[in-house]
C-alpha cells in the first residue's frame, strides 16, 4: 500500500511537470521528449496496477529508463530550460521516486549471484545520471563540479598522459612498495611469533603505529630516496608494513589449543606445525591485511607525490591540475585511481576466495 502511494506521488509529480506554467508550452517544442515522457507516464501507470509482480517491475523499469532520457533531451542545447525550469525539476523529482520504488522492488529479489549486483549497479548509474542532470541543469560552474560527461571526455582525449601517470604511480611505486611492505610485515610477524620477547615488544608499538599519521613520513622519505618512484615505494612499504604485522601476529595465534595439541601429539616439529596448521589458519587475517593495504598503498603513493615528483604520476597530476583549476582533469585522475584501487581490491578478494575456500565465511 505504501509502495503504491509512492508511485502515485511519483505520477503526480511527473504529470505536474507538464502543466506548471510557463513550461507547459515548451514541452511541445521538443516532440521526442514529450513522447518519451508519455511513455514514462504510461509505464508508471501500468506499474501501479497489481496484476503480476514481474510485469509490474518490467513496466516500472521501462518507465525509469525512458524517463531518464527526458531531462537529457530537454537540457540539450540552450533551450528554455536553463537554471530554473520548474516543470523539468518536478518531472525529475517524480522520476527519482519511481527509481526508489523500482530499487526497493529489486532489493526484495532473492539475493545471491548476479541478482545481488543489479540494485547497487542501478543505484550507481542513477547517481552518475543525477549528477550529470543536476550539474548541467543548474549550470554549476565547472570549477566547482564538472559533469561526468566532461570527465569522460577528458579521460578519452588525454588517455596517453593518464597511462604514463598510472604506470609511474601504480605499476612502479604501488606494486613494488606493496610487495615489499607486505612480505616484510609477514616475515617479521613470523619471526616475532617464534621469538615471543620480540612479539611482546612489537605488538604494542605497532598498535601505536595505527594511531600515528604515518603518511607524515612522506616528506622525509622523498628527501632520502629522491623524487622518482623509489621514494613513493618506500612510503608504501612503511604504510603497509604495520597492518600486515599486526594481522599476521593475530592470525598466527588463531589456531586453537586443541588443534595445536593434536599437532603436538603427532610429534610435529615447529616448522611442520607452522606450515601445516598455523599459517593456513592465519591466512584469513593475512588476506584481511592485504585488502586493507591495497587501498592504503594507493593513497600513500599519491600523497607522497605531493611532496615532489618527476612531471608524471597520479598525485603530481592532481596537484598540478588543481593549481590550474582544471578540475575535470583532477576528477578523471580520481576516477582512474578509484578504478585501479577497486580492481586491486577485487583481485585480492578473488585470490582470497580461491585460497581460503575452506573458511566458514565462504561456505555459508
Amino acid at each position: 500500500m505504501r509502495q503504491g502511494g509512492l508511485q502515485l506521488l511519483a505520477l503526480g509529480l511527473m504529470t505536474a511537470g507538464f502543466v506548471v506554467p510557463p513550461m507547459g508550452g515548451s514541452w511541445l517544442a521538443r516532440l521526442l521528449a514529450l513522447l518519451c515522457a508519455f511513455v514514462t507516464l504510461l509505464g508508471a501507470t501500468l506499474g501501479l496496477r497489481r496484476w503480476d509482480a514481474r510485469a509490474e517491475g518490467a513496466s516500472d523499469l521501462i518507465a525509469v529508463l525512458v524517463g531518464a532520457a527526458v531531462p537529457l533531451m530537454l537540457l540539450e542545447g540552450p533551450g528554455p530550460f536553463g537554471g530554473a525550469a520548474p516543470g523539468l525539476w518536478l518531472f525529475l523529482a517524480g522520476w527519482v521516486l519511481l527509481l526508489w520504488r523500482m530499487l526497493s522492488m529489486f532489493s526484495r529479489l532473492p539475493g545471491g549471484g548476479a541478482g545481488a549486483l543489479v540494485a547497487p549497479a542501478l543505484f550507481g548509474v542513477a547517481l552518475l545520471y543525477l549528477w550529470q542532470v543536476l550539474v548541467v541543469g543548474f549550470a554549476v560552474p565547472q570549477v566547482l563540479l564538472p559533469a561526468p560527461s566532461q570527465v569522460g571526455h577528458v579521460l578519452a582525449t588525454q588517455f596517453d598522459v593518464f597511462w604514463l601517470d598510472f604506470r609511474q604511480t601504480f605499476l612502479k611505486a604501488v606494486l613494488a612498495g606493496y610487495a615489499i611492505g607486505c612480505c616484510a610485515g609477514f616475515l617479521v610477524a613470523v619471526i616475532a611469533d617464534r621469538v615471543p620477547f620480540l612479539g611482546r615488544g612489537l605488538l604494542p608499538l605497532s598498535g601505536l603505529a595505527s594511531a600515528v599519521p604515518i603518511v607524515g613520513i612522506a616528506p622525509i622519505l622523498v628527501m632520502w630516496f629522491g623524487f622518482d618512484w623509489h621514494s613513493k615505494a618506500a612510503v608504501v612499504v612503511v604504510v603497509t608494513f604495520f597492518p600486515m604485522l599486526v594481522n599476521t601476529l593475530t592470525g598466527l595465534a588463531a589456531a586453537d589449543a586443541m588443534q595445536r595439541d593434536l599437532m603436538h601429539s603427532y610429534a610435529a616439529s615447529y616448522a611442520q606445525t607452522l606450515v601445516k596448521l598455523r599459517l593456513p589458519a592465519a591466512l584469513p587475517f593475512v588476506f584481511n591485511a592485504m585488502k586493507i593495504n591495497s587501498t592504503l598503498a594507493l593513497i600513500a603513493a599519491i600523497v607522497a607525490e605531493f611532496f615532489g615528483s618527476p612531471i608524471l604520476g597520479l598525485g603530481f597530476r592532481i596537484s598540478a591540475e588543481v593549481a590550474r583549476l582544471n578540475v575535470d582533469v583532477v576528477w578523471a585522475v580520481i576516477a582512474i585511481a578509484a578504478l585501479a584501487g577497486s580492481m586491486f581490491y577485487g583481485v585480492i578478494a578473488l585470490v582470497e576466495r580461491a585460497a581460503t575456500f575452506w573458511h566458514p565465511s565462504y561456505r555459508a
Binding site: F197, L198, L208, A211, P213, I302
Partner: protein, 303 residues
Amino acid sequence: MTTEALLLAAPPITGIGHRIAPVVAILALLVAVWYAAAVWLNTPQVVDRFESDGKSWNARQLIEASWSMERPVLPAPHQIARNFFETVFETPVDNKRSLVYHAGVTVSATLLGFVFGTVLGVLLAVGIVHSPVLDRSLLPWIIASQTVPILAIAPMVVVVLGSLGFVGLFPKAVISMYLCFFPVTIGMVKGLRSPDPLQLDLMRSYSASRAQVLHKLRWPAATDFLFASLKVAIATSLVGAIVGELPTGAQAGLGARLLSGSYYGQTIQIWSALIMASIVGVVLVALVGVAERLVARHMGRSA
C-alpha cells in the same frame, strides 16, 4: 614481617615487567639503530665539509659532527628532542614557532571533522538498517568508496571550497569527515543489527515502534561497536586534517609544518612535527577510550 613475606605480599611486579620490558628493549634497540643510521646517513656531508675546510678528522669528531648538524639527512634523537622541547615548552603558545599552536590548529579541524563524520556515519547506518533499498543499493557503494583514494581529493576540496569563500578550518574538517564517516557507518550497521532476534521479538511483542526499538534496544546494543569505530575514526580524522593542510600552502597546522620543513630542508622541524602528530594521535585515541569507559560505567557495565 620479613622481607621475604613483604615480597610475597607485593603485587606481582614480574607481570608488569613481563609486559614492559620487551617494549623498552625494542625501543632501546630502535634508538641505537637510529643513532647508527644517523652516522651512516650524515657522514658523507660531514666529510665534505671537513674536506672543504681542509681539516683532518678522526672517528670521534666525525660521529659528533654527524649528530649535531643543522640540516642533517637524519637528525639524531636528541636533536629532535631538543627541538621538540624548545618549540613546545619554551615558546609562547601564541607564537608562530610554537608547536602547540600548530597542533591546536590541526586538532580543532580534526575534532570538527570527527563530529561531522560521526553524525553522518550514524545517520547513514540508521538509514541502512531501516531501509532495505539503502542496504542493498547504498552499502556496496559506501564500501567501494574506500577504494577511492579519498586523500587524493583533499587538495581539490580545499581549493574548491576556498574558491567558494570557505577557508581555514572548514575545508580541512570536510576532508576529515569524508575519511572518518566510513568506519562509523560500517561499525554502526553491524552494531545496530547486533541485538539478537529474541530481543527484537520481545520489543515487537511490546508493540514498540521502530523509533522505540532504535532508542531502547539497538542504540544501547551498538555502543561497543560505536566506540571501536570511533577510535579508528579519530585517528583517520587526524590524518585527514594533516593532509588537508598540505595543498593550499596553509600557514598553520602540523601539515603546514611538514610541508614548509620539506621545502626548506628543515629535517629536524619535520621530525618534531611528526612526533607531535603521533602524540596527538595517541592522546585522541586514548581520550575516546576514556569516554568509552565512562559510558560503560554510566550504563552499569564494568568494562
